[in-house]
Symmetry: C2
């Protein structure tokens, strides 16, 4: 990896409420890591080559905390059902196709290509129950230069035979083999334990996954409190749990000793939020998906006030697009309707907050990611918004806001992950 | 204008609930008008040249019932306020710049170019109070091949001097001169009376506009029941009116004898809806704008059930984009949150309903527009969605749904307005 200096107009988050904007700054990248932003090149970095991005915007790479790779194939389709019917009608039939590695390779190529050309540099990804297809996806991701966690999904009940693992023991054995295969093959594409959600995972399976977590020290990702029907079902399946989160907690799969991402948390109770806080669980806020499946709107600005770990997610194919810029737009819009229609004591998200979620909020799951502060991995997106017509100059904050609503893959001029230019 | 036959996969609305899909159909266009869709070319049309669109989707041109051309310059910006503050902070200062015809020409060029490359073929457009700039906009629109109504805005109170007409008499005189100038210069770009909204229009101005309507037989467009603060203000200004709509009605500027578009109708009372129904007023549903300005969500599926005239609108720059595909997405998403958060007795919009609003619903304001039925103007968008990755074939309805969420100007291969190919 080569060291270099990148010059341009930098934007990152100082806090959820405040942007930092540095115009015409010089950022030395040494060993893939940011060494600060300077108005002139400090002497010690003078020998490094300079990449001049002119007045293009340089944003931190964004982290997608929850996305289903196999669902990319039907993104933008089947938006006429709520969660449980949608899973049975669209999701499970599509995921069943990934038993065929040739289909999986073709479909995952589309996903990875689209992810590469988005603002995303890091992602926590659901695959399917199929180990071979999941390893294939991981190979493509590793090749892409992105950094990610990928989960072979576990399900051993309450789903069609085509996507159900035969029993808990087999599921755990195959998952362990997949973990070992992945660990030996990939550096930047790491396995994450992925019980789909409580309804599809038996107690024996959950206990087996906890054993794997202890043995291999792996993070976990799953779904939480997305939809009323789902929550009621979990209450039936796990009557001793005081909240949905406790149904994971009783197996030790709810953060605490190992990192954990829970997608959605639209309807989390105070008790559940307290457990999330205590255990440092990351909430993957998925605003477009929560609209499309009519789940509702998570009170995200409250979660920020409570100091919870919250990041942003596209949740394709509940969400239609892999764009985290678009997810920022949806997060802001959904929060405004929540404020207007449901509860005006919880303020809508600001641009600053949505940007924080997409960069720092989710980035924290991956280490020192999501800022240009010294010591952070240099993940960056170079945004060329010159083709977005405007009759007069705009300041950097305005350019960022406009990008949230209007930019797409055409406007991404370059992307860096941990100091490496991936295009 | 040349007659021709166009071949491809046609989609249009049979009703708000039902799509019509004709694959590999032949549609003869004679004098700019559809002559039906046939599985083979009828003998009488055999001499006509055939344009073969392969398996591209051919959709009716869409109608944007409410859009502010001068606000295109700040689309995607300033999304952090409600309506009245937003008008004062962003909108009026920008609109004031259109007193400079050179600025107007440059800014309007961006608007018209973007509109041409959208799915919109017809639009009802607000300009500013400035006659010269408005005529310049109309000249650009006429040149583009689009068909539209354009309104020189009227305001003579409750707004900054920079955008206020000096008094009602001058406003009416300048408006009349503009009407005559426009009428003599343009065929497909027609003037529409445009009192901005009740708060900015004195009684004398409204009465004068009614006189112009009688004299020149013009339609009218304005705003209605968008935001609680606005509605309360109208109640103060027009205490005798039983609803906001009656504040227009008492001047005869609320449909009935002349066509009328009212944007928003988010918070219309039953009394107002009955007046809308009786007078055949067109509701311009502006879902993204109503999210961005935190206004709320109009109960559109109820309006369809009531048999009201409803079309779709981008309302740039309350909305960020001129794309009516995206407006369909936002309409569906907003309706789902309304159902979930506010009132589950009003069903979310289906894809079919949103498509109907964008094509037939708004098209009806412009004549026989928005369908491929015999006798309708041939307004069409040829959609090439082949670059939207999918690992397997999709049926036409699925392709339409996916386009709503994912297509942009790159996917529009050609566009026709009243039989003329504009690109």
């Amino acid at each position: 990896m080569k060291d270099f200096i990148i010059k341009g107009c930098f934007l990152d988050s100082e806090s959820p409420e405040k942007l930092r904007i540095v115009e015409a700054g010089y950022l030395p990248v040494v060993g893939g890591v940011c060494r600060g932003i300077f108005p002139v090149i400090p002497e010690q970095f003078q020998p490094l080559p300079v990449t001049d991005c002119g007045d293009k915007l340089i944003l931190p790479g964004m982290s997608d905390l929850h996305v289903h790779a196999p669902q990319f194939a039907f993104r933008g389709l089947g938006m006429d059902m709520e969660l449980l019917d949608w899973l049975n009608s669209y999701t499970f039939p599509e995921e069943a196709k990934y038993s065929d590695p040739a289909y999986a390779e073709k479909a995952y190529a589309g996903f990875v290509d689209s992810l590469v050309h988005s603002t995303t540099t890091r992602a926590a990804i659901f695959a399917t129950v199929h180990p071979a297809a999941t390893l294939g996806l991981m190979a493509q991701l590793e090749q892409s230069g992105l950094r990610s966690y990928v989960g072979k999904v576990n399900m051993d009940r309450n789903c069609p035979d085509t996507v159900r693992e035969p029993d808990a023991k087999t599921a755990v054995r195959e998952t362990e083999r997949w973990i070992c295969d992945a660990g030996s093959r990939f550096h930047h594409t790491k396995p994450i334990l992925t019980p789909r959600f409580i309804p599809t995972c038996s107690d024996a399976l959950m206990a087996g996954l906890k054993d794997l977590q202890r043995k291999y020290s792996l993070p976990v990702q799953s779904h939480l409190s997305e939809n009323f029907g789902e929550i009621a079902w979990v209450r039936e399946l796990s009557p001793a749990s005081g909240c949905y989160g406790e149904a994971y907690q009783r197996f030790g799969l709810f953060g605490g000793d190992h990192p954990c991402i829970m997608a959605h948390c639209v309807h989390s109770t105070d008790r559940e939020l307290e457990l999330i806080r205590q255990n440092g669980v990351f909430i993957a806020h998925s605003p477009e998906s929560n609209m499309n499946l009519a789940s509702g709107v998570a009170p995200v600005s409250r979660y920020l006030e409570l100091g919870l770990n919250v990041g942003l997610a596209t949740d394709v194919a509940g969400g239609s697009s892999l764009s985290l810029l678009r997810a920022m737009m949806h997060a802001i819009q959904a929060s405004k309707l929540r404020w207007r229609l449901l509860d005006d004591s919880i303020r809508p998200l600001s641009l600053e907050q949505a940007f924080y979620l997409a960069t720092v909020g989710g980035g924290a799951f991956f280490g020192k990611v999501g800022r240009f502060a010294e010591g952070y991995d240099f993940d960056a997106v170079v945004l060329d918004d010159s083709s977005l017509f405007h009759p007069q100059p705009l300041d950097p904050r305005s350019r960022l806001e406009r990008a949230v609503y209007l930019a797409d893959d055409r406007h991404i001029a370059a992307k860096y992950v941990a100091g490496k230019k991936i295009f």
